[in-house]
């Protein structure tokens, strides 16, 4: 397990340098303290999963990265401090966030959802990117003029992922992509995430309760309990860890 405080010097291989470094992050909603000093790191090209029970602080960790909750501590993106920045400014630095509940623009069309996903881009390839996502998720192409709110839960999850990737992010944050979806659909979502990873090498930080599936596509993982990281390591090691298996894998 790498120690998050010892970032490798930039002289090493171009892949594997840390994109996101979180150190000693505390967060609270009013009087209720939720995070008690989280340390976490994501390296370029990695898929990292955060496991934990309801209320452990997974979503709050994601919201802290995007400036959606008041935090203390240090959150660095490419070595630069981003804690305290507003969510729009974090997004402009290349962090795309698929929030819990998907956060689609329900009364905008599918096409407009993808367009707005590319809001921060200035290049001319937005159109071809949209068409590429229609190829990846044909159902979105069929429903491009439909209001996003009328899509099924699984379709909305695909749309949320595609919208996030429309910004060509350096880092994709996925908050419980399986939430509220039927098991078959969940499998499909994760298959798609896996192929997106293989095809585009997108760096991802995934929060998930479905530990089995999440560890299946991840390189490394963290286990969060009551606002603290209690365990971290390679995905394979976590899968075979007795405590993790008992608590999150159910066998």
């Amino acid at each position: 397990m790498t120690d998050p405080t010892t970032a490798e010097p930039a002289a090493t291989a171009p892949t594997g340098k840390p994109i996101l470094q979180i150190e000693g992050v505390h967060a609270a909603y009013g009087m209720v303290r939720v995070l008690h000093g989280i340390d976490l790191e994501v390296r370029e090209g990695e898929v990292v999963v955060v496991l934990g029970a309801n209320g452990a602080g997974k979503t709050t960790t994601m919201r802290a990265i995007c400036g959606l909750v008041d935090t203390s501590g240090s959150i660095r993106l490419d070595g630069k401090e981003i804690r305290g920045k507003r969510s729009a400014d974090v997004a402009r630095l290349g962090v795309a966030h698929v929030p819990q509940g998907r956060g689609t623009f329900a009364d905008l069309s599918v096409e407009d959802n993808l367009q707005v996903g590319a809001f921060v881009r200035k290049d001319k390839e937005v159109r071809s990117d949209i068409d590429r996502w229609y190829d990846v998720f044909p159902v979105l192409g069929e429903r491009r003029q439909q209001q996003a709110g009328t899509l099924s839960g699984g379709e909305q999850q695909m749309l949320a992922v595609a919208r996030a990737l429309m910004s060509r992010p350096r880092l994709l944050l996925l908050d419980e992509p399986s939430l509220g979806l039927a098991p078959m659909i969940v499998q499909n979502v994760f298959r798609n995430l896996q192929s997106i990873r293989q095809e585009f090498g997108t760096t991802m930080l995934v929060v998930e309760q479905n530990a089995n599936l999440a560890l299946g596509i991840a390189d490394r993982g963290y286990v969060i309990e009551a606002g603290r990281i209690v365990l971290s390591g390679a995905a394979a090691d976590l899968s075979s860890d007795d405590a993790v298996r008992a608590a999150y894998l159910g066998y």
């Binding site: 995007c66 689609t104 905008l108 407009d112 839960g153």
Partner: protein, 297 residues
Amino acid sequence: MELFLARLFDGLSSGGTYAVIAVALVLIYKATTLINFAQGELAMLGSFIAYILAVEQGMPIYLAIVLAMVLSAVLAAGIERVLIRPFDPADHLPLVIITLGLFLVINAVAGMIWGFDPRSFPRMFPEGDVWTMGIARLRWYTVGTLATVLVLLVLLTLLLKKTKVGLAFRAVSSNLESSGLVGVRAGPTLQFGWMLATAVGTLAGALFVADPFRQLDPTWAQRVLIFAAAAAVLGGLDSLWGALVGGIILGLVESMVVGYVTWIPNQMSLAAAVVAIIIVLLIRPNGLFGSKAVERV
């Protein structure tokens, strides 16, 4: 027939003016999801600016109105920045109180500066009629107002649907948190909404007081705001074209009810129109063209 046409043209005339102010209300509602009580007073202020530029500075009326739209939009940008942005856009009650306060302050300041004596606003359209049949008169003013609303709606639709700032505007009004997550800055976007709504309000105000039967004073907006709000609700509050239809229906119901339902006294004509709106809303709670909140999970 003559009488019917007379009532039809009357209804179109007042309906067109309700519609144009309703459009301004719908714009600010789309941006902020709240009814901005100060919108009518900003329109009143804009109409005074246009009056001063045209009558006291001697500008051509169209140039005066365009300049007044720009000036009132700049004022709205300042109001948004100083009074609105420090507050959480998702918490509506403080914002409603602020717009109520603005309503009172703008009205009092206008009264202090300009007094309450009615003034005659320059004509925007030729005097006289496009077409007459006995007592039925289709005035140039009515045609000009409706044509202006149509052009305005086409331009606004293009702005919102085809431009990047329009996309940002729709994203913020659809989902404030998600718009931040895709990099849309809520503050400047809402500021744009205030500017746009206020510029449209100034145009609406100028159209309203340009009617030869009306005069300019600091109270005109108070009297018309309730009708415009009713028209906007009838049309669906978040629909620009609904505001036009709502305004015209309101105007027509008002003139037809007075004309044909003789047991309703003239003074009650608007009450009758409001009753008609309540009936429509009972059947279609989101108004005639309002978007239904469709959301599957």
